[in-house]
Each structure stands twice: as C-alpha cells, then as structure tokens.
Amino acid sequence: METRPWLRTMKARAVVRLMSIFGEPLWIIVNVGSPVFSALALALLYRSAGMANYTGFAILGGVMISFWGNVLWSMASQFNWDKQEGLFEIYLTSPASMTAILIGMSVGGIVGTAPSAAMVAMVGYALFHPPIAADWVAVALTFVVTLVSLYAMGMTLSSLYLAYGREAESLNDSIQEPVSMLSGIYFPSIGQFSPFPFLVQATVSLIPLTLGMDALRRTLFFSQGISSVWPNLAALAVMSLVLLGVASFALKALEEKGRRDGTLTVRIR
C-alpha cells in the first residue's frame, strides 16, 4: 500500500469534516446543548443525593457523551447517509482507501468535537467546582487511548450500518442511551461502586467506553497513575486493533455483498 495517497485521502476527509464544523460556528453551540444540560442536571442530582464531591462524574460524563454522540451520529451513520446522498459509490469507484476515509472522519470528528467538550468541562467546573485529584499524564494518556478505541468502534459500526436501510437512525436512537448507561458514562458501571452484578460488569467491559470511563474517573478524581490503570489501557489498545480489523473486514465483506446483490447504489430502502 502506498502511504502518500492514503495520507492525502485521510487528510482530505478530515479537512472536510473540520471545515463543516468550524465553517459554521453554530455547530459548536448545537453540540453543546445536550451534554451541558445533562451534565448540569446529573450534577445537581449527585448533589441532592448527598454526593456533592462526585459532581465531577457528571461533568466528565458530559464531556465524554459529546464524543460518544459524535461517534454514533457522525461516524456510525455517516456511510449510510453518504449512500443516500450518492457519495458512497463515488468513494468506491475512486482509488481512495476506505480505511483512510474512516480514519480521516475520526480525526476530523475528534478535533471538531473538542471545543464542545471543552465548553462542557468549563461550564461544569465553573458551576460546581468538583474536587479534582488528577495524575495528568495518566489522564491524558487514558483520554487519548479511550478516544482511539471509541472511534475504532465508530468505524466498525459505520461499516456494519451499510447493511441497514432507513432503520439505521432508529437503531442509533435506540442504542445511544443504553450504551451510555451500561458503559457508565455518568456513574461507575464496573468496579466496587458498580450497582451491576458481576456478569453484567464483565459483559459491559467489552464496550471500549466502559473501560475508558473507569480509567478516566480513577486518574482524574482518585490520583491513580498509569501503574493502576494499565490493564484498562492495554485492553483498550487491544480492542482498538481488533475493532479496526473488524471494521476493515466488515467493510470489504459488505461491499462485496452489495456488489453481488446490487444494493450498493440503492439510496433509500
């Protein structure tokens, strides 16, 4: 594989995404609404339930839900929408690598979502002053590894969603909240404070966001360093690789199936 066209494809897709976000600053305001209000409401719930020291969990959840929303709506659904707009067939007929397009989408999504996520963090911190006891190196590393694995999951979903027609959006709507709950975006869903039985904890640990949120909370609020959270980081790194492989395989398999069935250019079904 030649690296130059691959990198140019990735950069081109990332730039399109960034231009679409930063070319319309209203996007940032639009993306902030749901995470900010959810974080505020849940921080107030933490406070009213007698856990004022844990309002940071809600704010961190608001930050990460911005990225999770971006993964679902701007990664998972993207190829499906591209298919409806007639763009997907252009991707396929061009020499551009599909993996490069997916990674470009991810890079653009991460950079584009960062301002909204930062605004959630700033508003939450200004209003609640949650106690923070962070090992910042571990926090930064955990954050990066979590995002990589999360967007790798987005790439896998994006490939799998090609198999769906109009039900893709309903599916997105349906999985957004359950995954948020099970992965413990706003409260610990694994570990000693989890309200779930062991079997459920073991199952939800297969979602990258679960391990990432657990490690982020521990590094950001309980001063735990890399020596404590390395199993999470290692598992997330393995998941990222596996998911990238699955995404690439699924994309090829579904593309081949689409060619045979003649559904690759069917826009709405």
């Binding site: 609404g33 505020l40 107030l44 349906s174 099970l182 706003y186 404070f193």
Partner: protein
Amino acid sequence: MSALRSVAASVWLGIYRDLCWTFPATVLALKTIAPIASAMTVSLIFYLGAATTGSLDPGRLSYVLLGAVLYAHIAAYAYSPTFCIAEGKNLSVFANIYMAPSSSAAYLAGRAVASFLISVCSSLLALVAASYILGATLHVSMPFMVTPLSVTLLLVALAADVPASLGLGYVLGSYSLFASKFEWALPSYISGLLMVFSGAIFPTSVLPWPFAGAANALPFTQFIAAARDAMIYGQLGAYGTSLVLTLLGGISFLLIGLALFTLSERKARKDGVIDRRLA
C-alpha cells in the same frame, strides 16, 4: 368540525408514519429502550448516592424514576411539530400542507397528538420495565400505588399536559419555519432544559433563586408533580391543585404558541421560506 376532521386525519397519518414503517411492535420496542435506559441512569446515580450515605429511601427512588420517564415523554412529543415541519420541508410535503384548505396548525396538532399517543405507550412500558429491572437489580421494592384510581389519575395528568406540550411544540415549530439547518438539535436542548427545570429528577428547591420559582411556574413541573401525587403519594388534594395549574399553564402556553405560530407562518410566507430546504 372541519378542523377536527383535519386533526383526526393528521393523527392517523402520524401514527402510520411513526409506527408502521416496520412492525409496530418493533418500533414500540425501539422507542421504549431509550427511556428505560435514561430513567435507569438517573435512578442508579440516586441509588449510588443513597447507598453511599446509607439512607436509601425507596420513595425517593421512585420519585426520581417516575420523573425521569415523564420528562423524556414530554420532550418526545413536544418536538413533533418541529420535526414535521423540518421533514415536511425537506420532502416538499409541508408546502402542500400549507396550501391545503385546512390550517397547518391543525396538521401539526394532529401529528403531536399521534406522537403523544405513541409516547404514552412507550413511557408506560418504560416505567414498568425500569421499575422491574431496578427492583430486581437493587433488591428494592418500588412503592408505586398501582390501583385503577391511581392509573386513571396518571392518565388524566398525561392528558392534561397535552396543551402545554403542544404550545411548546408550536413555539419550536415557529422557529423551524425559518430554520433549515440545526432544527434537529432543538429536542436535545428542550429535553436538557426540562431535565434541569421541571423537577424531573430532583426537587426544584435544589435550584438557586430565581430559577426555583420559575421552574415551579412551568406547567411541565406541575404535571410531573401531579403524576407523583397520583402514583407515589396518593394525595388527591395536591394532585388536584397540580392538575389545575398544569391546565392553566398549559392553556396559556398553547395560546402563546398558537399566536406565535400564526404570526411566524404569515411572515414565513411573506419571506418565501415555507418551502425552503437549505439555508
């Protein structure tokens, strides 16, 4: 009479459009999963707080659970007029509705009522499912009063909230007439605002002044309070007061919303944006 016929036709259209694109039971299941999960999230946060402080009150847990289900219900159908306009403009349907002899307000009312009916079913299913799952997981018995009277009172409260949500729908719809991008973001703002200001998951007294007073004046807050009086506390007097306040506030919201929508529609026609697809 003609307006009522238009509303009825629109209700049927809305149910067909929202529920019948695949097996209705599948759609209902898909629509129920999200409220179950969001209600469980807030309930589990409350549970963790209560477990940490060693003072778990099942009454408060059911308070949080019921509020979480109901705020999601309001947000689900208050957004309906916005969605109808946005989708209608995109698919060139709304311009035809506007040209038809019946008013577009009647069409939007019908679509909102259809969403309300579907949302009532999914919300009640979500309440039952979330209560059961939480009870089984946390080994807590939810003290809901499930009697014919309490369920009837809950259904009456749900119906009493329709004017308020429809009014909110018209206000949002007025914006959608002019907007051709980002109108899909409105529901997240509305459900977020309701989560904070409707007393859904914590008492409004937690909010600082003057937000607490403003939150109490909202018909949505009174609706959720009435539902709690019916299903948890069994206080008929307080229920009646909240119900009257829900209706009064709701009628005010509806009149304001209708007036705003009529004015907006007139301006949108003058500006030539009723059939505009992209900004």
